[in-house]
Symmetry: C2
Amino acid sequence: MKKRSTPAKKEVIKLLKSSESAMSQEMIEEKVKGKMDRVTIYRILNSFCEDGIIHRILSDEGKYYFALCMDCEPEEHTHDHFHFRCLTCQKVECLPEQVNVELPEGYKKKNATGWITGYCNNCN
Amino acid sequence: MKKRSTPAKKEVIKLLKSSESAMSQEMIEEKVKGKMDRVTIYRILNSFCEDGIIHRILSDEGKYYFALCMDCEPEEHTHDHFHFRCLTCQKVECLPEQVNVELPEGYKKKNATGWITGYCNNCN
DNA sequence: ATATTATTGCAATATAGTTGCATTAAAAGA
DNA sequence: TCTTTTAATGCAACTATATTGCAATAATAT
Ligand SMILES: [Mn+2]
Ligand SMILES: [Mn+2]
Ligand SMILES: [Zn+2]
Ligand SMILES: [Zn+2]
């Protein structure tokens, strides 16, 4: 029942901690090539999401990116800030600004995400 | 070279015109079941996108939705407004508000999308 | 009516992610 | 330290969504 600590998990969390930007499964796989199976990475990432250690965000190109939770309360996750994806270096960053939109009368908001694509300071 | 008008295309555009909300390929397929192949729908939708007749927007759950262009100039497409998806009835709507975010110094914006999920006025 | 070629249907392929199952190995307890 | 329990892993198979190849069909121009 209780989660266990394993070399694979340590490796993945180390990667995410050392990365200044959100990573996709693909990016992670590249970094740990040979050390663990594709599926294990997916499972570890999903497990961390369940534990509330990381966010899972679907990018504007349809891939999931993962990033450490920073300012999340254990009870209340907030990953409804904007994200930026660099079209050149593929870097994905969490932006400080929250997504907040006026909805039509009678609508109730559950979740919000926002993506900006473009070129980062290193790439233009 | 020049595009042709066909029954399948007429059917699909009629559907999109009569729909007050954006539709996924799946939703369209359900409506035209038996009249044309799955792949034909995909191709027609992509073709309309090329022609600048419709938008293609990737939802926060990783599926494409399609909607008629309303306020687009032929030269300049703008589909960088927020979209709303109802978690109950699956309806997808274009919201009036534009996505606009302050980027860090040196970043250049190319494109922007925003999604709100929740419950529409009919569903809560 | 005929010729040209865009469009279609069907099967195969691509991509991203999940699931089943037997095996391995954390970690709790004796 | 040894044993037991079961979470985690590797591998193959599968799912979901969308695209591509190719031969057959049909919309348009002549
Ligand atoms: Mn969080
Ligand atoms: Mn448009
Ligand atoms: Zn960059
Ligand atoms: Zn609804």
